[in-house]
């Protein structure tokens, strides 16, 4: 009975609530998520104001920094969504950083040294084959870990600690420690950068489609509640949610479109120096968004997701209910492996190279993101959006420390470490209070 809800509407129905409490009650927003967003905004404004006061100009809340932040977050965010499932089922995966390393090397060798021999340099199929092989490699490694854990009964901590070392070693051996570069040109777009972004028009299309989806979700949710005559949200709350969702999304579009291509790139492309070309959303950010949406659907709308939560809440009850808990566990680790492979795509594309150190120590940031995002190490509780916000919080702290001039590593590590422990402590307090 240690698991507490993160989504439950709490308390009694008294009418004398303040406007904020009434707003939260009406919209049924997760107060924990609101807290996290609040913390995020605090961090953002804190760094910006610190910069303005002591460094002669705040640079955190600028389109350029926020755009970079979004790209940097995507790699950790992609993996954190998978780590949520791992941690919900009371497991851990310490090997994700090393899987990034080894799949990155496999993809690097494939697209730079093997495929061009058969297809010719710059062949349009190279990036597709490379990504497919990378994801498959991740799935196989993850499934192997999952098999050892679920069917051979070795604790996940041990299996993945072994994996952490084995796959890092493999990453080195695969090319004797060489750095493989440059990557295929199309593949490189998956890492972002001026060319790996969808531009102003593309971003508006993404934004408008997203808004349409938000409105459709709210509408069909209301229709479904009506059909079964459950309590409906008040209309003002529906409008507020729609405005909040679409406003945030369109705000993000305006922000990424406000970051123009730098002059060097304009010159490279033979464009006039005074031309304004917007970046728009970077492709890795769109990959993260798609992963986040698919993973959320998986966790909330499918049997698999329901079983993941059930196993985390009570493994014995899940097994007695006829759930094949071992098979589910294997699939979770295979999925984690695939997402690590996808993160390797983004990371190696962004660096335009594959090195054996790719993804080093990423496991710690990924686990920290999931935990800061509200995933309980006791199992059974966690959300995908929480993990993504958690990744954004962790990345914001790191970026912010660099921007205000404490980027030499030591201070950054101290701040991130303290933030992790503090976040879990605050989470404990929150859970006790809402119980």
């Amino acid at each position: 009975m240690t698991d507490t809800p993160t989504h439950a509407p709490q308390g009694s129905s008294d009418a004398k609530l303040g406007p904020i409490a009434r707003f939260i009650r009406g919209t049924e927003l997760d107060t924990r998520m609101l807290g996290m967003v609040g913390a995020l905004l605090l961090i953002w404004f804190g760094f910006h104001i610190y910069g303005a006061l002591f460094n002669g100009g705040g640079v955190f809340l600028t389109p350029r920094n926020l755009w970079n932040l979004s790209v940097q977050t995507s790699m950790t965010g992609i993996m954190a969504t998978g780590m949520v499932l791992v941690i919900i089922t009371r497991n851990i995966d310490l090997s994700v950083g090393s899987i990034v390393g080894v799949t990155g090397m496999v993809m690097g060798l494939l697209q730079v040294e093997i495929l061009p021999q058969y297809l010719g340099l710059g062949h349009p199929a190279i990036w597709i084959v490379t990504v497919a092989v990378g994801l498959l490699t991740g799935i196989l490694i993850g499934a192997f870990h999952g098999w050892l854990i679920a069917y051979r009964g070795i604790p996940s901590f041990i299996v993945t600690l072994g994996g952490l070392m084995v796959w890092r070693g493999m990453a080195f051996l695969s090319a004797d420690g060489r750095t493989i570069s440059p990557v295929d040109e199309t593949f490189g777009l998956l890492g972002g950068g001026p060319h790996g972004s969808v531009g102003a028009m593309g971003s508006w299309i993404v934004g408008i489609l997203g808004c349409a989806a938000i409105l459709w979700i709210l509408r069909s949710g209301r229709a479904s509640r009506k059909k079964h005559s459950f309590a409906l949200r008040p209309m003002w709350a529906e409008y507020a949610l729609a405005a909040l969702g679409c406003g945030t999304l369109l705000g993000a579009v305006l922000m990424v479109n406000a970051y123009p291509w730098p002059k060097g790139i304009l010159k490279q492309e033979n464009l006039p120096v005074d031309a304004v070309v917007s970046h728009g959303f970077a492709i890795p950010v769109l990959i993260l968004a798609v992963v986040g949406i698919l993973m959320t659907i998986l966790m909330t709308r499918t049997r698999f997701g329901r079983y993941v939560f059930a196993i985390g809440g009570n493994p014995e009850a899940a097994a007695l209910s006829g759930i094949n808990t071992r098979w589910v566990t294997l699939k979770i680790f295979a999925l984690m492996g695939m997402l690590s492979g996808l993160a390797a795509v983004v990371a190696s594309a962004r660096l335009n190279s594959a090195t054996n150190a790719l993804g080093d120590l990423d496991e710690l940031y990924v686990i920290a993101s999931a935990v800061v995002g509200g995933t309980s190490l006791a199992g059974g509780v966690g959300t995908i959006y929480g993990a993504i916000i958690g990744a954004l919080v962790m990345q914001s702290l790191q970026t912010g420390m660099v921007l205000i001039g404490f980027g030499d590593g030591s201070y950054r590590k101290i701040v991130v470490g303290v933030a992790l422990v503090l976040a879990v402590y605050l989470d404990n307090l929150y859970r006790k209070k809402t119980k």
């Binding site: 809800p5 439950a8 059909k227 659907i297 329901r306 759930i323 509780v381």
Partner: protein, 252 residues
């Protein structure tokens, strides 16, 4: 009760051992429709182990299970469910972090087009069945960890009833409950009996057995001491069977 015809369930000559210790040693029991059979014995007497062979949690080393006179293969909980055998466990096999509807449908979710969960439909069904079993139940949207013992037990029972159990196994269903909630469960058992459901009731409380059961099977050290019709014996007879393994003349 006149038990004639084919029994609903027959466990014949079941044996199961764990590392050389015979937890169940050549035990046979049966159950007829609309009957409540109590299983009694000390801790470690083998009652729960025996019944887990029927619910699919364990597989017997020897012996056979017959459902409606036909041999049944039960090697996991899903097999048991396909024979309409439902189990309510002593440890309340609920996932604490999920709400009542998710628990009720766990492993048998209602899915809509595209294979996606239809949570609204599941909640609506849960509301319907809870209105029948426990009209005071209101906490549909909170994890079951927030429910009282009785409320949790009613979710567990609702799960069995909803899926048309023909054979119900209850492992100390009232162990964690207060007097009022115990009464509620007792009434529910009478109601289920009327519907022709056969119930195996594992109990420690002699009075509950005398009140609720038609027959009682007593086990000791993995073996069956005897089976009695509860209206032919006294509390003392049954206690004698449990404690000393003494078989009264009425027993078979």
């Amino acid at each position: 009760m006149a038990n004639s015809g084919t029994p609903l369930v027959e466990l014949r000559d079941i044996s199961i051992a764990f590392g050389g210790i015979k937890a169940v040693d050549h035990v046979s029991i049966d159950l007829y429709p609309g009957e409540v059979v109590g299983l009694l014995g000390h801790n470690g007497a083998g009652k729960s182990t025996l019944i887990k062979c029927l619910s699919g949690a364990y597989k017997a080393d020897a012996g056979e299970i017959l459902i409606n006179g036909e041999k049944a293969e039960i090697s996991n909980p899903r097999d048991a469910r396909s024979y309409n055998i439902e189990t309510i466990y002593q440890t309340l096999a609920l996932a604490d972090n999920l709400d009542a509807a998710s628990n009720l449908f766990l492993g048998r979710e209602i899915v809509g087009p595209g294979g996606f969960l239809d949570d609204s439909a599941m909640e609506a069904e849960t509301r319907k069945i809870m209105a029948r079993l426990n009209p005071n139940f209101r906490k549909f949207n909170v994890p079951v960890s927030a429910l009282s013992g009785g409320q949790r037990q009613s979710v567990a029972i609702a799960r069995a009833v909803y899926f048309n159990a023909k054979i119900l196994i209850m492992d100390e269903p009232t162990a964690a409950l207060g007097p009022h909630e115990t009464q509620m469960v007792a009434e529910l058992i009478q109601e289920l009996k009327k519907q022709g459901i056969g119930i195996f009731l594992i109990e420690h409380d002699i009075h509950a057995v005398m009140d609720l059961c038609d027959r009682a099977v007593v086990m000791k050290n993995g073996q069956r001491v005897g089976t009695v019709n509860v209206n032919e014996v006294t509390d003392e007879d049954i206690l004698g069977m449990i404690i000393m393994g003494k078989k009264p003349p009425q027993a078979v």
